[in-house]
Amino acid sequence: MRELSLHILDIARNSIEAGATALQVSIVEHQDTDALELIVRDNGRGMDEDSLRHATDAFYTTRETRKVGLGLPLLKATCERCEGALDIRSKPGEGTEVRATMRLTHLDRPPLGDMGKVVQALACEAERTSLRYRHQTNGKRFEIDTRDLQKELGNVPVTDPRVLCWLAEFVRNGILSTGSKA
């Protein structure tokens, strides 16, 4: 994956496939400690200990359910190449949290890329899985939740293509406004 945002899209798709009704994506840039954190949290069906242990093994995949595959191993390799780590916590019936860390200024770190388009793609499923996106750079925060947008829109769906086009650019501007360097 050429961009970290594509990894995030990939991991967040797992959450939707796992039946999550609420999805949270957070990106935190600590410019003072030179760290970047990507967090994807859901309330989907979760994984048992055995699945969790094998989740980052590329050759472990339950074809019937397609719960795991190449996505997590690829992200893990990126984290480790950039002096970071991948941490997954999960409980059956409760949900899963994937936390990826890396050194913000590491030469091998892929750029964050276009998170606006990622939020837009994930919001296509907003009726089934709500999305809360948070971007924090040092202390400055940008946050958006499809449930709040839906309230604001009334009977016009968040999934209206005009709303989704607005959303992509709103998110791009929001991230820039935090002073992001990712």
Binding site: K117, Q120, A121, E125, G154, N155, V156, P161
Partner: protein, 123 residues
């Protein structure tokens, strides 16, 4: 710069159309969004698709997503389902091809054979 005010303007415009439109049973575009699809450019396909639907105000078309379809080397892929017609799967898409499919298939009812890999539920 996109603002909340612009969102309100979209809402007001969309509300006028809601009254006359029957939202049930419109065409669907299903985008394959497995790891393979995403790595091959599915995000850009979704973005081009939404942009084209938005500028043509084709608001009865729903965009949904699915996982790996098992033909990873032919990604990015989408399936176009028009009610009453057989579904068509398109593969090895580019954003430009996606825009053409909106114009030719969704607007004019012409299958874009260049990118189609098969038609119908058995294909």
């Amino acid at each position: 710069m996109k603002t909340r005010e612009e969102l309100r303007a979209i809402r007001e415009r969309a509300r006028e159309a809601l009254a006359v439109r029957d939202s049930e049973g419109g065409p669907r575009v299903v985008v394959a969004m497995g790891t393979c699809g995403i790595a091959a450019g599915a995000r850009e396909i979704v973005s081009a698709l939404l942009d084209e639907l938005s500028s043509r105000e084709l608001t009865d078309v729903s965009v949904t997503q699915t996982g790996c379809r098992g033909l990873c080397d032919r990604e990015p892929m989408v399936e176009v389902i028009v009610p009453g017609k057989t579904g068509v799967t398109y593969c090895r898409l580019t954003p430009q091809a996606m825009r053409r499919i909106v114009a030719d298939h969704l607007v004019n009812g012409q299958v874009v054979t260049e990118y189609a890999i098969g038609a119908g539920p058995e294909a």
